[in-house]
């Protein structure tokens, strides 16, 4: 494969010029991940938080038909107990509590409610009130009998986590983080690769390129550099957007415990770059071989599904970096990223993952360069 740096640069410069003048591409690559993703996430989080607050403090009107003198519903903030004297009146209330007095020791309680999202909040509040009543009853009975709490709680269990704080946080967020970043790497490359490959064909500009003496491999490499850079920009934009969101006060439990040392930064960056390279070459190859943008989109969507499945598998409990999984592209990077966050990635594992990913990237490229002329000939003969 003969590569001309001048042609590679010319090809890349042409692509970047076109991209910078394409408002839709810029919007998708930069504005959406930098502003829209965080804004949507922040807005959803804020709305959810606000709604929970509202529902938790909303005055509750609860109907009570209490047939037991032993149960007394205590006053609770925001709860209005409305005493009634028959079950028929339950339809007047979203929540209705019926206490039967069957015996001194046992009080059957029936609760009538409506199964809705709002009902869940109210149910939790009623549950808490009932739990407090139950605790008081137990305490009273134990005191009457002269017994202590240990009589009904014979075991006192305490759990001690021996994992380091980094291991815990890494295991909790490494998998999700890797899923998120690798997925973004794919989507960041997808539309750019389709535009620069199948788009060139569909817009009728490929024929003029093929009629020049420029080596195809150099032109394809120039396009690849463009797709990789746009993929990196997209991932970076998302990370900056999300980072800003977290800095603005949206706390994600445990994330702060992940230590950002130079080893983690370097290994993660190299792994993310390698997987972006892999996606860029695979998508560019797919795009250049497609006859139309529509066909490229269809193939890209199938690939997206496949990548999502692999990534979902990587987050399953028990799936860890192993010598057999290192040969599975994408999955190896996702697992290596998680291991890097946990602090358990070895140098050998890093080397193997990078080698497999970069070899496959090169393979895609060679295949693309060789096939493109053949495919183009086939396309021309259909005219």
């Amino acid at each position: 494969m003969k590569i001309s740096l001048a042609i590679l640069l010319a090809s890349w410069k042409k692509e970047i010029r076109e991209a910078l003048r394409d408002k839709r591409a810029l919007f998708l690559t930069l504005i959406v991940p930098l502003v829209f993703y965080p804004a949507m996430l922040g807005l959803t989080g804020w709305m959810q938080h606000d709604q929970i607050q509202k529902e938790s403090s909303k005055p509750l009107k609860i109907g009570v038909w209490n047939q037991s003198d032993s149960i007394v519903f205590p006053e609770a903030e925001g709860v209005d107990w409305v005493t009634v004297d028959s079950l028929e009146q339950r339809d007047r209330f979203s929540f209705f509590v019926h206490v039967e007095e069957k015996s001194y020791n046992h009080f059957p309680i029936e609760i009538y409610y409506r199964d809705t999202a709002q009902g869940d909040f109210a149910r939790n509040r009623v549950q808490k009130v009932l739990s407090d009543i139950e605790k008081k009853l137990i305490k009273k009975r134990l005191t009457e009998k002269g017994l202590d709490q240990g009589f009904i709680e014979p075991l006192s269990v305490q759990w001690h986590n021996q994992a380091t704080v980094r291991e815990s946080a890494g295991s909790r967020w490494g998998g999700v983080g890797a899923y998120f970043i690798v997925f973004l790497a794919f989507t960041g490359c997808l539309s750019v690769a389709i535009d620069t490959g199948a788009g060139e064909k569909e817009r009728g500009t490929l024929e003029a390129l093929l009629a020049t003496p420029a080596e195809l491999s150099s032109i394809v490499l120039g396009k690849l550099v463009h797709v990789i850079l746009m993929g990196v920009l997209s991932v970076l934009a998302t990370m900056i957007g999300m980072g800003t969101l977290i800095a603005l006060g949206t706390s994600i439990s445990g994330v702060g415990n992940i230590e950002l040392d130079s080893r983690l930064i370097l290994s993660s960056l190299s792994l993310v770059l390698s997987v972006i390279g892999f996606f860029a070459s695979a998508l560019l190859s797919l795009s250049l071989r497609a006859k139309t943008i529509k066909e490229a989109h269809m193939r890209g969507s199938l690939m997206l599904l496949f990548v999502a499945l692999i990534l979902m598998y990587s987050t399953l409990p028990g799936v860890e970096y192993s010598n057999s999984l290192v040969w599975v592209p994408v999955l190896n990077v996702a697992l290596a990223l998680r291991a890097a966050v946990e602090g358990s990635l070895t140098l050998m594992q890093w080397v193997l993952t990078m080698s497999v990913t970069l070899t496959l990237t090169l393979g895609w490229l060679l295949w693309t360069s060789r096939l493109i002329r053949h495919r183009t000939e086939a396309a021309f003969l259909k005219d």
Binding site: A10, R21, R203, E207, A208, A211, E377, F380
Partner: protein, 252 residues
């Protein structure tokens, strides 16, 4: 110079079982300083033949030479010598004319200084000053056509091939192209253009090659064609020759 010798091309379209014989033993030569008009109805194999000259397709049998280089064995050398413009060619809409020329100049590996001079010459010749720094997507058909011509000639090729390049152009844009064809001929280049329009043939052609259903129907000078013309007009003569060719079973 272009030399086409006994060229055959067969292919099988994806959704059809039987093979299509696109070219069946076509031979002719195009000389420097002359314009050769390649004539033939739609589907006659003209575009397939021209794409072979541009090394985009390869012959199954026979050979095509451009400036002495074989299009199959020396494809890179051929591409350095040829300028190829088709009616279906498009521009990169988001690049300006200047950027398009600079990009293609790099693809032809032209030196910076030579490229700059060449660009200025073409901008001047094709009167592109008023729109040279505007993106192609916002230009008129005629302006876009001028950029495509400039792109085709950026490396000052010895051989220029125009494949139905006037198709869809208005009168003014078509006239610009005709002027360029004449200028190329006067500059000693080998010019080959395919067309349906007989008026263009009578204005430009020194030599004429006619093919039908992949087979050669006529090869000779335009003057000879005029002399042996039995029909009232060139169009009618063209149709008559095709009918006669079919009657003789030439396209079987």
């Amino acid at each position: 110079m272009i030399k086409v010798e006994n060229v055959h091309k067969t292919y099988t379209p994806k959704r059809r079982k039987e093979a299509v014989k696109a070219l069946k033993g076509v031979s002719f030569q195009a000389q420097p300083g002359k314009v050769l008009a390649l004539l033939g109805p739609n589907g006659s194999g003209k575009t397939t033949l021209l794409r072979m000259m541009a090394t985009l397709l390869q012959p199954d049998e026979g050979e095509v030479q451009v400036c002495g280089f074989d299009t199959t064995r020396d494809s890179l050398k051929v591409r350095e010598q040829i300028g190829f413009l088709t009616g279906s060619a498009k521009l990169h809409d988001k690049l300006t004319a200047r950027e398009t020329l600079a990009y293609f100049g790099k693809l032809y590996a032209l030196g910076d200084e030579y490229l700059a001079t060449r660009m200025e010459t073409l901008i001047e010749t094709l009167e592109m000053h008023s729109f040279v720094d505007r993106v192609a997507g916002k230009l008129s058909m005629g302006q876009r056509q001028r950029i495509m011509i400039a792109r085709t000639l950026i490396h000052d090729p010895a051989v220029v091939v125009f494949d139905e390049a006037t198709a869809g152009l208005d009168v003014l844009a078509a006239q610009t192209l005709m002027d360029i064809v004449k200028a190329c001929r006067d500059a000693g280049k080998t010019v080959l253009f395919s067309t349906h329009i007989m008026g263009e043939v009578s204005l430009l052609a020194d030599d004429v090659v006619m093919i039908h259903k992949g087979s050669p129907v006529y090869e000779g000078s335009y003057q000879q064609l005029k002399e042996q013309q039995s029909a009232a007009s060139l169009e009618e003569e063209f149709v008559r020759m095709l009918h006669e060719f079919e009657k003789e079973g030439g396209a079987a």
